[in-house]
């Protein structure tokens, strides 16, 4: 872990908070895998293990009033944003206590109160909406940023092109946050993009662009801060490409025939969590004892989340047709 000139010194409290968030995401995702194999969660489950530094590093730079849109691999973003783990687990169990009343499941986490707008399952489908939300902020004279997470696979979709163009044209305050984990489901980057250095695309729209090592929390934090500052200052969009890697398969039912185990092991050496722990210890921002205590606190949180979901209730079938239209006709 480099102590780059651009990374600012963090405090003990912040260090603990950031480590806690990454650890929570890691253990929550592993627990989700476990309960999925017990058939408590069904449908698709896409886990964020290995990419924690991106969600945590970027979202810590955002303010309360900023908007976030993400993909179907959004548990990490939701947790980093402060969504209650119990509400997420209950949502994946399909219980009415879930953040979307169980109606969405793993791929559709929503929480209006923390401006978390999904959980979107169509690859690239939420990019235009992000541009529109940012446009609205601009029209309303607000200073908030719309942070739009997507993978490198989405960069092949027409919506990517249209959204980048619109955002630049309109001067919409969007942070296009590309998590390049090198695989779009089972297809490697080299098979999907004629230009594999996606960061080269940003300038062609006239969009300020940067890249960052997504496995290094401090570097992500610095890059994200720079991006967000730029957007708030100029009102213009920014394109940040984070190089990262998912240690687990695309989803639960995936034999990973498309990549070598050796490659995975190599990337695991750059696991953001042990890296960050090492940094904190070396900088004497944390002790081993505190780490152990933090880890067991996370175990407890995750176990409580599962309990909450297990004890949840099913929405009555009679309510099936709710939310086709708004129940209040004037919002």
């Amino acid at each position: 872990m480099k102590k780059t000139k651009t990374s600012k010194r963090i405090s003990k409290e912040e260090g603990k908070r950031l480590l806690h968030q990454m650890q929570l995401i890691r253990r929550f995702e592993e627990k989700s895998a476990e309960v999925y194999t017990e058939t408590k969660i069904r449908g698709f489950l896409h886990l964020y293990v290995g990419e924690e530094a991106v969600a945590v590093g970027v979202i810590q730079a955002l303010m309360e009033e900023d908007y976030i849109l993400s993909t179907y691999r959004e548990h990490g973003h939701a947790l980093a944003r402060g969504m209650d783990p119990g509400a997420i687990m209950a949502e994946m169990y399909g219980k009415v206590e879930g953040c979307a009343m169980g109606r969405g499941g793993s791929m559709h986490l929503f929480d209006k109160n923390i401006h978390f707008f999904g959980g979107n399952a169509i690859v690239g489908g939420h990019l235009p909406m992000a541009v529109g939300m940012a446009l609205a902020s601009k029209k309303q004279g607000k200073k908030n940023v719309t942070c739009c997470f997507f993978g490198e696979g989405a960069a092949a979709e027409g919506e990517f092109h249209e959204s980048m163009n619109l955002a630049a044209l309109w001067g919409a305050p969007v942070l296009f946050l590309c998590e390049n984990n090198l695989y779009a489901m089972g297809t490697a980057l080299k098979y999907t993009h004629s230009e594999q250095q996606l960061e080269k695309k940003g300038p062609t729209y006239g969009i300020e662009t940067a890249t960052v090592n997504g496995m290094d929390l401090l570097e992500v934090m610095a890059a994200a801060q720079k991006a967000v500052d730029y957007i708030r200052k100029t009102g213009k969009p920014y394109f940040l490409v984070c190089y990262t890697y998912r240690f687990r398969a695309h989803s639960m039912f995936d034999a990973e025939l498309y990549r070598d185990k050796a490659e995975v092991e190599e990337w695991k050496k750059q696991d953001p969590i042990p890296q960050f722990k090492k940094y904190l210890l070396e900088e004497q921002l944390i002790t081993e004892k505190e780490i152990a205590s933090l880890e067991s606190a996370v175990e407890k949180e995750v176990a409580e989340a599962v309990d909450f979901a297990e004890n949840g209730t099913w929405e009555p079938v009679e309510d099936l047709c709710r939310f086709v239209y708004s129940e209040k006709q004037e919002p």
Binding site: E30, T37, T39, R42, M252, F253, A255
Partner: protein, 409 residues
């Protein structure tokens, strides 16, 4: 002891083949360790263990294909003592529900003339026209249709109405007409017209409806004994007759076998109300078939009262159209000296008619001995498009059950 089962990795994963054990009994397992490689339709997947413990026993062999949920291994959690390993019961076979086979139907041999085999001519009529015809008790077989494919349409009904009853006003109330047809008081045509109408209906029935016939001799001793006791507490006017018992028993049997309380119009349409029509022979010749509405809800006394009211009115041609048009099932019976049993002709669009013969003493076999008992031969004529012998048989069995337990009626 932890029973580690074949995990479900997706809703469409049904089973997996254990290709290779990656851990052996005695190995200490950490969270995240790979226990085995399992082959699935998507390829080879590593199965991980989410806890901590020592692998005690492998229960599935390499190369074995097992369904999701099968216990693959036993793992002793860290801290637990070594126990006598009792292998859990083998994963239960997925329950194969025994599919009840319908008994192969014996071909019913109709005891009366065979069903007409030539293509019968259906009367085409619009839903609206049919409703109007019923309201005015018109015999649609007598009306010429001018609608598409020769269907009878509203105009045709109106034309006929104008001919028959020129002063009758044709009332149409759009909103209400969407619900039930209004009940109207109507004068009954003369007996000649009755005979004609009956003839037409019976002809049509014989042509259109493929009848099948079942019969059962039913022991009336319990029923008659009950009636005798019941009538001791009643005056002569309130006296209960066997016909009331028959009506109640039929109503209850129809409740048990609702497919017979129905009409056939482009398919079976069960009716909610049980309105039992019963054949009343007129002194001038011919028959009328008034209905006892909602017979299943009436007490025996109420049924009797109904009969005492309706029969004289029928003979005096003073019935209401609803009493004539709303039967959902019909009873016919033959009186004294008339015949041992009677096979009815179904009154369309109903799908069945039950016939009661004369109640008479017969020699019966009872507990290996011959005795004399009052019996009645009960027949069922039913529409084979709507039901078959199995249903018909069920109905007769139910009817018999109720006649053997008259207190339940």
């Amino acid at each position: 002891m932890i029973s580690f089962k074949m995990p479900s990795l997706g809703a469409d994963m049904e089973d997996g083949t254990l290709v290779e054990w990656r851990k052996q009994p005695g190995d200490l397992l950490q969270r995240g360790d790979i226990l085995a490689d399992v082959d699935t339709q998507k390829g080879l997947i590593e199965i991980e263990f989410f806890g901590e413990g020592v692998l005690e026993k492998q229960l599935v062999e390499e190369g074995q294909k097992v369904p999701v949920g099968t216990v693959l291994a036993l793992i002793r959690p860290v801290g637990a003592e070594a126990e006598q390993v009792v292998p859990p019961a083998a994963a239960p076979e997925p329950k194969k529900e025994a599919i009840p086979m319908e008994p192969i139907l014996q071909e019913e041999k109709p005891a009366s003339p065979p069903v007409a085999t030539e293509k019968t001519k259906r009367i085409k009529i619009s839903p609206l026209a049919r409703k109007m015809a019923e309201m005015h008790q018109m015999d649609i077989s007598q009306i010429k249709g001018t609608g598409p494919e020769g269907a009878i349409v509203k105009a045709d009904i109106e034309k006929r109405l104008a001919e028959i009853v020129p002063e009758k006003e044709v009332v149409e109330k759009p909103r209400e007409v969407l619900q039930q047809a209004p009940v109207q008081q109507a004068a009954i045509p003369e007996s000649e017209a009755i005979r004609k109408a009956v003839a037409a209906a019976m002809s049509r029935s014989n042509q259109d409806i493929p009848h099948y016939y079942l019969e059962k001799r039913m022991d009336m001793s319990k029923a008659l004994a009950w009636l005798k006791e019941a009538n001791k507490e009643r005056s002569v006017q309130q006296r209960l007759l066997p016909v009331a018992l028959f009506i109640k028993a039929v109503a209850k049997a129809l409740d048990d076998v609702p497919d017979l309380n129905a009409v056939w119009e482009n398919g079976l349409q069960r009716k909610n109300e049980i309105n039992i029509g019963f054949v009343v022979s007129l002194r001038t010749g011919g028959i009328m078939v008034p209905a006892i509405l909602n017979a299943d809800t009436l007490s025996m006394d109420a049924v009797m009262a109904c009969l005492n009211d309706i029969i004289p009115r029928a003979r005096a041609f003073k019935l209401r159209s609803s009493e004539l048009s709303q039967s959902t099932f019909t009873i016919t019976s033959i009186g004294e000296g008339g015949g041992d049993k009677v096979f009815g002709v179904i009154y369309p669009p109903q799908v069945g008619i039950v016939g009661f013969g004369e109640i008479r003493d017969e020699a019966v076999v009872h507990e290996g001995m011959i005795g004399i008992k009052p019996v009645v031969d009960v027949t069922l004529a039913a529409d084979h498009r709507a039901t078959d012998g199995l249903i018909g048989g069920k109905f007769l069995a139910a009817l018999n059950k109720y006649l053997q337990n008259p207190a339940s009626l």
